[in-house]
């Protein structure tokens, strides 16, 4: 099996590693880069827990190989908080709306919403709901997330 030297700009900092070709980006982030905020809950692209931002787009990190992230900018949930420790507005909205319980699905949800706001600072509520439909949560019944979609729509604070 081939091995590859990669360099990923992870949360703003370059990370160099050698990875087996089959290693998924999700496993690379968790096991090699120590960023365990990204969770793997299905490893077949359905649940959304593993969502991270690659070059500005929300993608499933279980459906990308680590080697494919070579030379790319990857943002995980650990990279959202501001340096002064204040929460990203998606994170704040999630807390305010009680949009998490166990928190296992949460990082993926946060990354999808952060990417959506990045791409379009004034998204519509249906846009955000559509983006959220790619996430499975077993705890909250999505009640808080629906409120978050409403709140973040149109750039609302």
């Amino acid at each position: 099996m081939s091995e590859h030297a990669i360099e990923v700009i992870l949360n703003g900092r370059p990370v160099r590693a050698r990875v087996e070709s089959r290693r998924t980006l999700g496993d690379f982030l968790r096991r090699d880069a120590g960023q365990t905020g990204t969770h793997l809950a299905c490893e077949h692209g359905v649940c959304g827990a593993c969502t991270v931002i690659v070059d500005g787009e929300a993608v499933r990190s279980c459906l990308m190989l680590a080697v494919q992230a070579d030379g790319r900018k990857v943002t995980t949930v650990e990279g959202l908080e501001a340096s002064d420790g204040s929460l990203h507005r998606v994170q704040q909205a999630m807390q305010d709306a009680y949009a998490l319980q166990c928190g296992y699905c949460t990082p993926g949800v946060v990354m999808t919403l952060a990417a959506a706001l990045e791409a379009n600072p004034k998204p519509t509520e249906p846009d955000l709901m559509e983006a959220l439909s790619g996430h499975l949560c077993r705890c909250t019944g999505y009640q808080g997330m629906m409120k978050v979609a409403k709140r973040l729509a149109g750039g609302g604070e």
Binding site: E20, R22, R23, R30, R31, G34, Q35, T36, G37, T38, H39, A41, C42, E43, H44, V46, C47, A49, T76, V77, E78, L80, E81, L87, Q91, M94, Q95, D96, Y98, L100, Q101, C102, G103, Y104, C105, T106, P107, V110, M129, L132, S133, H135, L136, C137, R138, C139, T140, G141, Y142, Q143, G144, M145, M146
Partner: protein
């Protein structure tokens, strides 16, 4: 009882959760997130057939593969003398069970060997290279097959599981049915579902020092895990430390360690190295415990005025090969009468082993009582020709009836079934809906209204390990409060709610209270999450501990302030003489004296500010209750159901944090929605699970659920704090509410719904060849 200063400053408020920050920023500590130096990873070789003998296991080639440290079968674990807890509770007809399969396999996924390698990739490579020859045998998969088929377990004579029982012959009940004006019967075939927590089971077993073991484990109570693990491996309890800081959902699946968790621990003991296993989704869906598969036949007798005379329920559960703990059939029969006046009830209950994955408690494991009763009442209302709210109004117990002893034993008190129903119906506006429904039907659109009422047995204080919880609260010299609790959260938010209770009970700021859970070496013994009891028992024990602590705090303060304890009050971290707020000592000042300045302590008083209390209420069961109502539209062209509105009116006593309570209700309701509309852990004829991916095992998405409208009544129970449990209710009352709405929508077609889930395929089959009766 001592006075509690600022009794409701934090309790009752929507306080933001303490848990959220770490979880939102990616700093949660779920089992597989914990960095463990040198940890190896495990993977299982699992049976591809539902039943058969293991002829040969050849792991020779696999052992030579890169990164492989060990491959064990059950025989290799013999030196450990491990004891695996009996499946299905105590009793006769127990199957033999090993950490891994012994001689034969009994369901698809039955673990045959464990592979330990440098990482999971290599472990899977090696697992695929282990060659196992099986001699396949005919499996029993369904209840019908279990009745007549060969035993799922070769050492047993039949498939009748532990706990089958029937009420004695009851001529009086027969007489009630004989003289009844109406006898209404109904059936529900509930197919199997699975918990599908987003975090699967996970364990990391770290042997430390001589005979010591630290086990990170995804569970519902680390204290319970430590107990089970120390018993299974005959290790001193003190040497086993179980840690579960964050857990990604459990819902009854993680009460006790499964054979996999125990096998991983066994492997780590054999290798003297840390070994971990994070169940993947394939395993979680096909090998982890499942829930609910039941066949229920039930009936009620009514007089001419539609008053219930008596009831009877017959129940058959498919518990798979190795069920976890005792099934809940007894509770189903006990609770079948619900909050209604029912004079007499009979039952029959049987549980059946089969060659499928084992059954475990799933959020409200007894939920069939409500599903059966509430759907039956709607069927009865249609047959008798009265409204569903009317048949309930004629039979629900009132406040005046309470305390009301159910004919099956439990006593209902401080419950509000009528009041919650009235509120729910008002909110959903039945009259307006019926008009809308009539209009819609004229246009060939089928909308329906469903309602359900139930009582939830929370805090079963006679039920073994569920009876009590404990709190150890101390004020540190920093003035900060630390509480070691036996409660546990898999999303329940107890770190927040318990801190609310403690902050109020002591009169200190919420921010100054830290609740420590999730570590068996820190909190005392308790069952953690399970049985909807944490608000009651955690809250109760916290309050009792705080009361003792407050007394001592005041004693010390009174001595320091030249006052009397009874003149003092504590608020916002300050102790002052009542009526003179400007003269105060801070809690921190007093705490420093208590620990650091013995000379200023009252003579003879023990140093420190520490207190412990274990709480068990006097009432054997604390009932909470709720009424829900929802409206739906059924697309009769496709059989797809859209939920239009959902109203939940809950009475869980004094509410600690409404947002947390609503979160529990919503989570349960949406699991109930999944249960009714889509979740189906199907098996084929050979016993192969057919839903091995999240594309096949369907759980609701954000587009499948409505925004729930809440109302709360707060009728306190007679227990410390007046709290009641609320964790399981949504999953109990959600399903009948939704089924009733769908049945109401389809009423013009004259069909009754007897299967769960109500898949589009099922609904269309039911409607086939039927035309709607003329719209009224």
């Amino acid at each position: 009882m001592n006075d509690v200063p600022n009794a409701t400053r934090f309790v009752g408020q929507r306080i933001p959760r303490k848990e959220d920050r770490r979880l939102l920023t990616g700093h949660g500590a779920f089992t597989d997130d914990v960095p463990i130096a040198g940890a190896l990873e495990a993977c299982f070789v699992r049976s591809p057939i539902a039943k058969g003998r293991i002829v040969r296991v050849d792991a020779a080639a696999a052992r030579q593969m890169p990164g492989v440290h060990a491959i064990y079968t059950v025989a290799d674990f013999e030196p450990l003398n491990a004891v695996v807890a009996a499946a299905g509770g105590q009793g006769v007809n127990q199957p033999r069970m090993g950490l891994l399969a012994i001689d034969d396999v009994r369901f698809v996924g039955d673990p045959v060997a464990i592979v330990v390698a440098d990482n999971r990739y290599l472990a899977e490579d090696a697992a695929n290279a282990v060659l196992v020859d099986y001699e396949s045998e005919d499996a029993v998969v369904t209840i019908a097959q279990a009745r007549v088929g060969a035993p799922a377990h070769r050492e047993l004579d039949n498939n009748l599981g532990v706990g089958a029982r029937s009420a004695d012959d009851d001529p009086e009940l027969d007489a009630l049915f004989a003289k009844a004006a109406h006898v209404v019967s109904h059936t529900i075939n509930h197919r199997r579902l699975t918990h599908a927590p987003m975090e699967g089971r996970a364990v990391a077993s770290v042997p430390t020092g001589a005979g010591e073991l630290t086990v990170y484990v995804s569970c519902q109570s680390p204290q319970q895990m430590a107990r089970f693990i120390s018993e299974a491996f005959n290790l001193p309890n003190a040497n086993v430390r179980a840690i579960a800081k964050d857990v990604g959902g459990a819902f009854g699946q993680k009460i006790s360690p499964g054979r996999e968790e125990l096998s991983v621990i066994a492997a780590s003991l054999m290798l003297r190295r840390p070994v971990k296993w994070a169940e993947d989704r394939l395993e979680s869906l096909t090998c982890a415990y499942t829930g609910r598969e039941q066949e229920a036949h039930f009936k009620m007798a009514f007089d001419a005025d539609a008053r219930i005379l008596g009831g009877h329920i017959e129940l058959h559960s498919n518990v798979g090969a190795y069920p976890a703990g005792i099934h809940a059939n007894a509770l189903v029969t006990t609770l079948f009468p619900g909050p209604y006046r029912v004079a007499r009830n009979g039952f029959k209950s049987e549980v059946w082993y089969s060659n499928t994955t084992g059954l475990a408690a799933y959020r409200g494991p007894w939920a069939m009582e409500s599903l059966a009763r509430e759907t039956l009442l709607d069927v009865a209302a249609r047959q008798i020709g009265i409204a569903p709210e009317e048949i309930r109004a004629r039979n629900l117990i009132t406040r005046e009836d309470q305390p009301y002893r159910m004919c099956t034993g439990p006593v209902l008190d401080h419950v509000t079934p009528r009041e919650t129903l009235a509120l729910a119906l008002k909110k959903i506006d039945v009259a307006a809906f019926r008009e809308e429904q009539a209009e819609a039907r004229k246009k060939g659109r089928y909308i329906g209204l469903g309602m359900a009422v139930y009582v939830e047995p929370t805090t079963m204080a006679t039920a073994g390990v569920l009876s009590s919880e404990t709190a150890y609260v101390r004020i540190e010299p920093t003035g900060k409060v630390i509480a070691m609790m036996s409660t546990h959260s898999q999303g329940h938010g107890t770190e927040t709610t318990m801190a609310q209770v403690i902050a109020d009970s002591l009169g200190v700021p919420f921010a100054d209270v830290s609740v420590v859970e999730g570590d068996s070496s820190r909190g005392g013994f308790g069952a953690g999450a399970g049985g909807s009891r944490q608000a009651v028992l955690g809250g109760g024990s916290a309050r009792l501990a705080c009361q003792k602590l407050l007394e001592k705090l005041k004693l010390v303060a009174a001595h320091v302030m030249n006052s009397q304890p009874e003149f003092l009050e504590v608020a916002d971290g300050k102790i002052s003489v009542r009526g003179e707020p400007e003269v105060f000592q801070t809690v921190k000042q007093i705490a420093q004296i208590a620990y650091l300045t013995p000379s200023r302590m009252p003579p003879g008083l023990e140093l420190g500010l520490e207190s412990q209390a274990r709480y068990r209420p006097d009432t054997p069961i604390i009932f909470s209750n709720a009424s829900h109502a929802c409206t739906v539209e059924v697309d009769v062209e496709t059989g797809l159901v859209k939920i239009l509105r959902w109203v939940a009116v809950e009475d869980c006593g004094a509410i600690i944090n409404p947002s947390v309570v609503e979160g529990q209700i919503a989570g349960g309701v949406v699991q109930g929605i999944g249960e009714v509309l889509m979740e189906d852990m199907a098996y084929d004829d050979l016993g192969n699970p057919r839903a091995a991916t999240f594309k096949d095992y369907l759980t609701p998405t954000i587009h499948d659920v409505p925004l729930i409208e809440y109302d709360h009544l707060e009728t306190p129970a007679k227990n410390e704090g007046g709290f009641k449990g609320v964790g399981e209710g949504g999953a109990i009352i959600g399903p009948p509410t939704l089924v009733n709405a769908i049945a109401d929508a389809l009423a013009p077609f004259g069909v009754e719904l007897t299967q769960i889930p109500l898949s589009p395929d099922y609904l269309l089959k039911l409607l086939e060849g039927r035309t709607p009766a003329h719209a009224g």
